[in-house]
Structure formats: C-alpha cells, structure tokens
Amino acid sequence: MVDSLVKQQKIEITNVSHSYSLDDHDLPVLEEIDLTIEPNEFVVILGPSGCGKSTLLRMVAGLERPEQGSIKANGEEIIAADPSRIVVFQDPTLFPWLTVRQNVELGFKIQKKKDDKAISDMLEMIGLAGFDNAYPSQLSGGMAQRVALARALVNDPSVLILDEPLGKLDSLTRITMQKELVNLWRNKQFTGLMVTHDIEEALLLATRIIVMRQRPAHIIGEFKLDMDYPRHRDSEELLKIRREIFGLLGHKSDW
C-alpha cells in the first residue's frame, strides 16, 4: 500500500496487456503498454474512442488489475485504490442524494476530516459558491462536471487522474477551467494523467502527449512539450505537433 502522505509518485506501467470478454469472445483492449510518468509531469493521452484509455486509467487508479504486466507507484505494485490517486470520471457520477457541498466533502467524510474552509474555497474556485445546498439534479451538465472536479481536487491528491473531465463544458468555461487546471497543477505539485478527445486541450496542458491507436490500444506516438504556460494555441511549435498528431490518428488532411 502506498502511503497517502507521500507527495510525489512515480508511476511505471510496464508491458501491460488486457482484454475483456464480450459475448463469449475475447476483446483485447490494451496491448503491451509501456509508460513511465515522472512526478510532477502532466501526461495527456489521446486516442480513438473505445480504444482503451479509460481502462488504462482505471488500472492506474487501482480499480482494476491488468491481466498482464505491472503498474507500480514508487516501485510498489498498485493493487488497490488509494486516496493519493484520485480519479475524475468521464461522467460526473455525483451522488444524487447529497448536496453539492456534501458531494465535494465526500473524501473528507471518508477520511474523517473536517475542513469547511477548504470546501468553501473550492466551491468558490469552480464558480459554484451559493450552490452549496443544491442537489445534482438541479445542476446543468457543465456545473455537475465542475463539482466532480472539485470533489477530486479538495483531496489534494499526489496523482490526479482525469478522464475527459472537461468534456461536457461549453467552449468558454472550458478555456477557463483549462487555465485553472494548469494553475492548480503548478501550485499543488501533483502528477497529472489525463485523457481527452480534444487535441487543442492536450497541447495547452500537457508536458507530454501520448497517442494511442485503435483497439487494442498501443502507444504509437509520444511528444514532449517544454513550452511555458500559458501557451498560445497558434504558436508555431504547437501547430507543428498538432499536425503530426492528426497524421498519427489518421486524419492527415483534416487539420
């Protein structure tokens, strides 16, 4: 078990393969994935829909174990979920029977902590102060997504696993949240592992972009981005990488 107090985590994914059984036949989802994530990196994974990105994230989170290969945090095999690695899921999955505030407080409740100010600050940050007592059924899709993000962030994780966390936001809120994410990541020193469909988003946030091919997922491209933040989406360097990624994903002439 990884100590949740250890702030820095190095994640090593070695030779991971996995398949699900679907209607009596095997469905290979991951094939020989090798990926090492250094502490404080922000790694973004791009790949076609249904290729196995969420599956890989679930494994890093410790919610599932790979059939083959190993996933280690600081040299120790990840065998179970741990509050040092928090996931923001593709769907907000807020608990409908809890208010916004109680949802954000969930991690504290589990760990028997109390910090009203941290919760209030977080609600403020995601622009939902005043919605403390609203129930998820009273929120818009984008608001719910932001609450889900807040629920993860208050726990101050050392690895933040993000599965298309901004997918449901409108383009303007999205830009704001991207900036917030970058700021948070730089201030709080967590390791980021994120999946997105949006190449632009990957280019703005990532220190490294991983491109996967269609199922079974396998890494087909890797890009290091060492430009400063905030980045400009029309900078020459980013456009060049963007073109290459489009090419890798089979849309050479579409960019």
Binding site: S4, R58, A61, G62, L63, A81, D82, P83, R85, I86, V87, F89, D91, T93, F95, P96, W97, L98, T99, L106, G107, K109, I110, Q111, Y135, P136, S137, Q138, R151, N155
Partner: protein, 311 residues
C-alpha cells in the same frame, strides 16, 4: 415565484346553504321509523353549515368548497332516502343519525379497537420492514448470504401470508404474537425483494468514486449502496403497508380477539350494521393516515429526487 390561485366563493356558499338545508330537513321532516339522535344530527349539520360559512375567507378551505357541497348533498339525500322515506331495507342500511349514535354510545370500544389494530399493525409492519431490509441488503451485498437467502425467498416469498394463519394460530398461544408474525411476514417479502433489486442496481461508478477516496466496505454499504437503493426500499415499503392492511383485517376476523376487524365481525354477529359502518370509517381513516405518514417520511428522505408524487 409560486402562483396563488384564488379559489371561487360560490361552491362553499352553496355548500353552507346545503348543510343548513340538510339540518332543516333532518329536524323538521318527521322520521319514517324510530331513529335515535335525530336532533343531535341536525345540530351537527347546522354546526358544519356555520363552520363552512365562517371559514369562507380562507383560500385553502375554499379549494374544498365543491367537496363541502357534494358531501352536504350526499348526506341530505341519504337522510331523506333512509330516515324520512325508508326506501332501503333495515338493518343492512342505516340512517346518518344511527352512525352518529354509534360514535356517541360506543366510542370507548371503538377507540380501544383502533388502539389494538394500530399496535398490531405498527409492530408487525416495522418488524417486517426491518427484517426485509436486512435480508435485501444482505442479498444485494454478499454472495454467500445470497446463496442461502435467495432460494428461501423464492420458495416462501410468493406464498400468501394468509396460508400460515391456521398454523400460526394453532402453534402460538398468543394470538397477538401470531398476528404480529403474520404481519411481519407479509411486510418482509416486498421490502426484501425491492431492497435487494435496489442495491443490485446501484451504478457501480458510485462505488469507484468512493473507493478512490479510500472508502472501506462498511462506508460503501452505509453511505453509497443504501442511500442509492432507498427509492426502491420505499416502493417495497408501500407494497408492504398495503399487504399489512389486508393481513390485519384477516387476522382480526379469524383469530385475534381485538381490534377493528374483530369489532366488525362482532357487529355482524349482532346485526349491528351501523357499528360496522362506523368501524369501516375509522379503518379507512387509519389506513389513509398511515399511508400519508409513509409518504411524508419518503418525501423528506428522498427530497433530492426531482419527481415525487403527492399523496
């Protein structure tokens, strides 16, 4: 902002007049036979007429104006048909004043019967709900528990609880305890099945969310599985309440020597049909009150749900 609908005045005005008319015809037209409490009944009608008149400014009461009128017509016609013209055969059909007479002369016994029925009902129902809930949670959560409980539930659950009645009353010396058990059995099956299906249907991502934050199984059961399954639990509890009402009457008519069902049985034996009507009325009020209470509890606990019906 909530829109306030102003309710019309005229139904309640006509209603008050109709109650006054009912009071008048009760008092002034001679009875066709010997009926007790005719004057008292006229006074009661007069009282209702006055109450309707003075509550006229209340918007909430005015909403029921048409009901006040309809009830006045119903009671007035009943009074004329039975007390004044004697068109329906006695003793099966009583006059309104006879019903009033039962309440005045026999209230102590009726109240006592009500208390007994309520004790039997509440005790058996709550016990059954708790047992059903525990079984349901166990089956939804633990494979081992399900292995043993599932076949038993499938085998015994669909059996109508009434089928146990002769056996239980023979084996258990206290008919009250036997009645409680019967009621508990009737309540536990629907609660168990619905709790179970509620827990089995919980979105697995809810567990994942809690797990990544370090939740242990006890937390998952108490703070994820149970609240998520609660809407189903309440559906089970409504079904259970219905079948408990049913079992209550059967048990009191066939074995338990107290309660409203027993009172009705006794009234029938003496051909005291007005007493039966009185007991029926009280029973209806009791059942609807319990339903209302259950809905209140549900609406409080499930206030996070968007849609909820009004009882």
């Amino acid at each position: 902002m909530k829109q306030i609908v102003k309710n019309a005045y005229w139904p309640q005005i006509v209603g008050a007049v109709a109650w006054l008319a009912t009071a008048g015809l009760t008092y002034f037209i001679p009875n066709a036979d010997d009926f007790p409490r005719t004057t008292t009944f006229a006074v009661v009608c007069l009282g209702i007429a006055i109450l309707s008149a003075i509550s006229l400014p209340l918007n909430k009461v005015r909403y029921y104006g048409a009901w006040i009128l309809a009830l006045a017509l119903f009671i007035g016609i009943w009074e004329v048909v039975q007390a004044k013209l004697l068109l329906l055969p006695r003793p099966f059909f009583g006059a309104p004043q006879e019903l009033l007479d039962v309440f005045i002369t026999d209230w102590a016994k009726l109240l006592n019967s009500l208390a007994h029925s309520m004790m039997l009902l509440v005790g058996g129902y709550l016990l059954g709900c708790i047992i059903g809930f525990v079984i349901g949670v166990g089956m939804g959560w633990s494979k081992l528990f399900g292995y043993w409980a599932h076949p038993v539930l499938r085998f015994l659950g669909p059996l109508p609880p009434v089928a146990f009645l002769p056996l239980l009353f023979a084996v258990i010396p206290s008919s009250f305890v036997a009645g409680e058990l019967l009621m508990a059995f009737a309540a536990s099956f629907p609660v168990a099945v619905l709790t179970w299906s509620g827990i089995a249907g919980v979105n697995p991502s809810y567990y994942d969310v809690a797990k990544t934050m370090g939740a242990k199984p006890l937390f998952l059961i108490r703070h994820v599985a149970i609240p998520a399954a609660l809407p189903f639990v309440f559906v089970g509890m409504f079904m259970a309440l219905g079948s408990c009402f049913y079992m209550l009457v059967v048990a009191e008519m066939l074995g338990v020597k107290a309660g409203l069902g027993f009172y009705m049985q006794w009234a029938q034996g003496w051909a005291a049909y007005p007493n039966m009507y009185a007991a029926l009325l009280i029973m209806a009020v009791m059942c609807t009150s319990f339903m209302t209470l259950l809905f209140k509890v549900r609406n409080r606990l499930l206030r996070w749900q968007k849609e909820s019906i009004k009882w």
